[in-house]
């Protein structure tokens, strides 16, 4: 019996407890523990590189085995989780220093990591669900540690999570009642004898849960608030990895637990694809489109990133739901790379908030002169996010586009490409309003963020470059995942795609090499010409008038207001009203639930018990409705 999975799983929990206890002694002890255990987790995860499926049966409940398993898909998620967590831990050290309950924060942070690892390592439904629930709650507690509005945002978040969790719980109960087992490997074969309606219902129940976590379009309402109000390191975790857990769950269930064979025959094919996939593709397409368009209209740095998360996760789902070698590989690559650059961007914005105290874009500007490292990090981050070569956002998008072309899904291709164009708009808005433009006078004494905050930024920025130039590095692991789920693995080279792997070939290093050459030429030409003279930002064209520090000479509020004008009629027709109706509904729902709950943990536990009892009674009494 190999206990290493358990060791790996327990490491973050132990780290959390030690960090908590260490924090009672001295903060440096807390830091030391936090850092060491995050690093240890990575090392332990990395130790699994290349190994085959490894599983551990650690108990038995309700007559079913409880299993932990490590496979290449889990490994991919686990390495992303542990990496982002290490960065986040480092970033938290200065960021959270002054906040109350900092010990509890680390405790929760590590618990979140532990539960996430638990989710990806779970080998049975019960383990999966327990960790999933813990994950939701711990992340809720982390979210409400942010700004004043965060408790409201967290409330919205947890309500949505509960809705999803309830659905999953019902699904789990149903499955258990039919199969008497929680173990993943059994489910597929046992379900195959069930009626199609049952399978579809169970899948839908689980899918709702995952789609809420992944914030796919109609179920995204919790996301912008929660992401923007949470503390920045938490935001980056939420966006970087927590959302991927939702995507992971979805596709783990589709590809592995249920398996494509189960759906065959019971789900009709549309446009040559299983209906499930078509629905998912279009939901992803909607997410891309509306996530992008809504991100363009935001006035708050973190909200831009939050909405862009919806859009970018849309690409992941789109890629994965294409169910082709290229698409799945592209989706998984996007999953890895999105974690990198989105966390990076949240870190940079977190640093800005740390130094200036605001995330309101109209109050920022001109910080490039004060915070060059942050600027470069954000520049790399936005280039990656926008998918511009040669950084790491390019390859996955290119793969997804190619997969779409292979499928001849031209409309989705258009949506995806427009989403790409739209992303230029909001990323430019982000970097412009924060770093470019006029520096407001009040930020004259702003300094670069502390070194501990710079390290995660620099590390992730380097990763965007490395993974961008050499997409082959992450693709190696992804090809293994594809093997694991029984798909033809992607063919690739270190720097791109050879003949035959896609409709066309790609060599990112050659592209970037040429770019560097062209840049070198242009730069040499530039410096060989007469020298430039630095002028003050107030020495500026103002139609002949003089600009002073009292002039409000910074265009940042309503940056794309004309876009708002264009979109207004469309939003009025569709998303806006649905959205407001939906939030209204959620608020009403929340109000009802608030009467029952005060928000305490014990009430929630009793709630779960009640719900379970109800479902149990329902299933036992009228269980033959299926």
């Amino acid at each position: 019996m190999n206990l290493s999975i358990l060791t790996l799983l327990l490491t973050p929990f132990v780290g959390g407890i030690l960090a908590y206890l260490g924090g009672l002694i001295h903060r440096s002890v807390r830091f030391a523990f936090a850092f060491l255990f995050s690093l240890l987790t990575i090392v332990l995860v990395a130790g699994y590189y290349g190994s085959k499926i490894d599983s551990l049966i650690y108990g038995r409940l309700f007559g079913s085995l409880l299993v932990l398993q490590m496979n290449s898909l889990s490994w991919l998620l686990a390495i992303v989780i542990s990496t982002i967590f290490l960065m986040s831990t480092l970033f938290s050290i200065p960021e959270m220093e002054e906040t109350p309950h900092v010990n509890a924060y680390y405790f929760e942070l590590f618990f979140l990591e532990g539960t996430m690892l638990g989710v990806v390592l779970a080998g049975d439904l019960l383990t999966f669900f327990v960790f999933w629930e813990m994950m939701s709650w711990v992340s809720y507690f982390l979210v409400i540690k942010g700004t004043k509005e965060s408790s409201q945002a967290g409330y919205k978040y947890i309500i949505m999570s509960l809705v999803g969790a309830d659905a999953a719980l019902i699904g789990l109960t149903l499955v258990y009642l039919k199969t008497q087992s929680f173990v993943f490997v059994n489910i597929s074969s046992m379900l195959s004898s069930q009626s199609p309606a049952f399978i579809i219902s169970v899948f839908a129940l689980f899918a709702i849960n995952f789609l809420i976590k992944a914030a796919i379009m109609p179920l995204h309402t919790w996301l912008p608030d929660a992401y923007s109000e949470a503390p920045s390191p938490v935001s980056s975790i939420l966006s970087g990895v927590l959302e991927k857990i939702g995507v992971y769950g979805l596709f783990f269930f589709v590809f592995v637990i249920f398996g494509m064979n189960l759906f065959k025959g019971i789900i009709p094919n549309v446009f040559g694809d299983s209906l499930i996939f078509v629905v998912l593709q279009w939901m992803a397409g909607l997410s891309i489109l509306f996530g992008t368009f809504l991100a363009i209209l935001q006035e708050d740095a973190k909200r831009i990133l939050a909405y862009s998360t919806i859009a970018q996760v849309g690409y992941i789902v789109l890629g994965l739901s294409l169910n082709s070698t290229l698409g799945v590989a592209g989706g998984l690559l996007q999953l890895v790379n999105h974690a990198i650059f989105k966390s990076l961007l949240f870190f940079v914005v977190g640093g800005i908030i740390y130094r200036t105290g605001t995330k309101n874009l109209s109050e920022l500007g001109g910080l490039i002169k004060k915070m060059p490292v942050s600027f470069i990090s954000m520049l790399l981050g936005i280039i990656a996010l926008a998918g511009i070569p040669p950084l790491n956002g390019f390859a996955p998008k290119w793969m997804i586009y190619q997969a779409l072309i292979q499928k001849k899904s031209v409309l989705l291709l258009t949506i995806a490409l427009i989403g790409g164009t739209g992303s230029f708009l909001y990323v430019y808005r982000l970097i412009h309003s924060i770093f470019l433009g006029t520096l407001p006078e009040k930020y004259d004494n702003v300094k670069e963020v502390p070194l501990l905050m710079q390290i995660p930024m620099i590390f992730l920025a380097l990763l965007t470059i490395i993974f961008g130039l050499f997409p082959g590095i992450p693709l190696t692991a992804i090809a293994k995942v594809q093997e694991f789920i029984g798909m033809t693995p992607i063919r690739f080279t270190l720097t791109g795609f050879p003949q035959g792997s896609a409709l066309s070939t790609l060599n990112i290093v050659k592209i970037s090499g040429t770019l560097v050459g062209a840049f070198a030429f242009a730069f040499l030409l530039f410096v060989s010409l007469p020298k430039t003279r630095r002028v003050s930002q107030y020495d500026n064209y103002a139609a002949g008038q003089v600009v002073t520090k009292y002039t409000k000479y910074n265009y940042s509020f309503g940056f794309y207001s004309f876009f708002r004008d264009i979109m207004n009629p469309i939003f009025k027709l569709s998303a806006d009203e649905i959205y407001t109706e939906f939030t209204k509904f959620m608020r009403v729902l929340g109000d009802h639930i608030r009467r029952v709950y005060t928000g305490g943990l014990e009430t929630y536990v009793s709630y779960i018990v009640v719900i379970m009892a109800v479902i149990f009674a329902f299933v036992v009494l009228g269980g033959r409705i299926w």
């Binding site: 109209s362 103002a542 139609a543 409000k552 910074n554 940042s556 509020f557 309503g558 004309f562």
Partner: protein, 367 residues
Amino acid sequence: MTKEYELNIGPNHPGIPGNFSLHLELEGDTIVKANGDSGYLHRAFGKLMEHRLYLQNVALIPRICVIEPDINEAVYAMAIEELMGVKIPERAKYIRTIILEAARVNAYLFGLGIFAAATLGLYTLMQWAVGDRDYMIDLFASLTGARIYHMFIWPGGVRRDLPPKFEEDILDWVKFIKDKLPDYDAVFFKNSMFLHRTKGLATITKEEALSMGVTGPNLKATGVAQDVRKDEPYAAYPYLDFEIPTMTEGDAWARTIIRRLELELSLNLIEQAVKKMPKGPVWTKMPNPFKWYVPRGDAYARVESSGGEYGFYFVSDGGAKPYRVYVRGASMPHMYPLAEKLLIGQKLSDAPQILGSLNICPPEIDR
């Protein structure tokens, strides 16, 4: 939270007609506050005229408004004639009418050309219109030798008779411009993009316009047929047959089309005046110009300029120099408060267009 930002349009800006500044506060793309900033062309004409003899002032006053300088001469002459009780010869009346109308056509051609170029970016109309205007400038130059400031109209009539062949030349020119009008229509007035951008833009109602003292094409565009040429006819206008064009829309499009119609009207008036012009003297003999003494009193003389009502409030104390002159430019109420009000809530891209459609002439404001 700072939502607004400031933006200056002008003085050094191609979107502004002349040396004038518009200080905007915007929120996103929408103007929330607009302040005009005048005074860049302030030369204090009132004060300068107090220092000069009546004759010297003839040379000074055209320089008030450079786009249409002749109205200044006419209005100055009319004020003095009213105070002195001088009647001017018939031929002089016709010559004045021709000069004034030709100057108006020039002003419209120039203004429309600049409007097309400086607000909509349609440089072709400007090239054509300003080029075509130049042939009239040549004719003006044949009057006194000056292209812009002709100083041809003066108290008592005009300085000398028209040069030979002038009448034929000006008819030729009128025909030339009339032939060009379809071209202008095609490229500008009927251009779909122009219609698209100006229809419904910055609409003024009749009541608003009247209460704010708006005159000229801007008022006619709201449906009021108010024109000094009809209401208080001067020069040879009583003898000519014409109708004041009006539109009812009151938006930027109507204001522009009104100027197009006025342009045509002026061309017709020139033709009529040239044909009806009698022979005879052109100047009522007045005493030695250096010793003009205008009787004590005040007068308000006004003419219709290309922008609207243009007048001098003229006070004499019986001396050799004017005691006080106040120049009433048509653009003053068009800018303050009309434009400042119209601009609020509009988009930045429309700001130059609104100013252009109001035909604001900064020197009239600054003087």
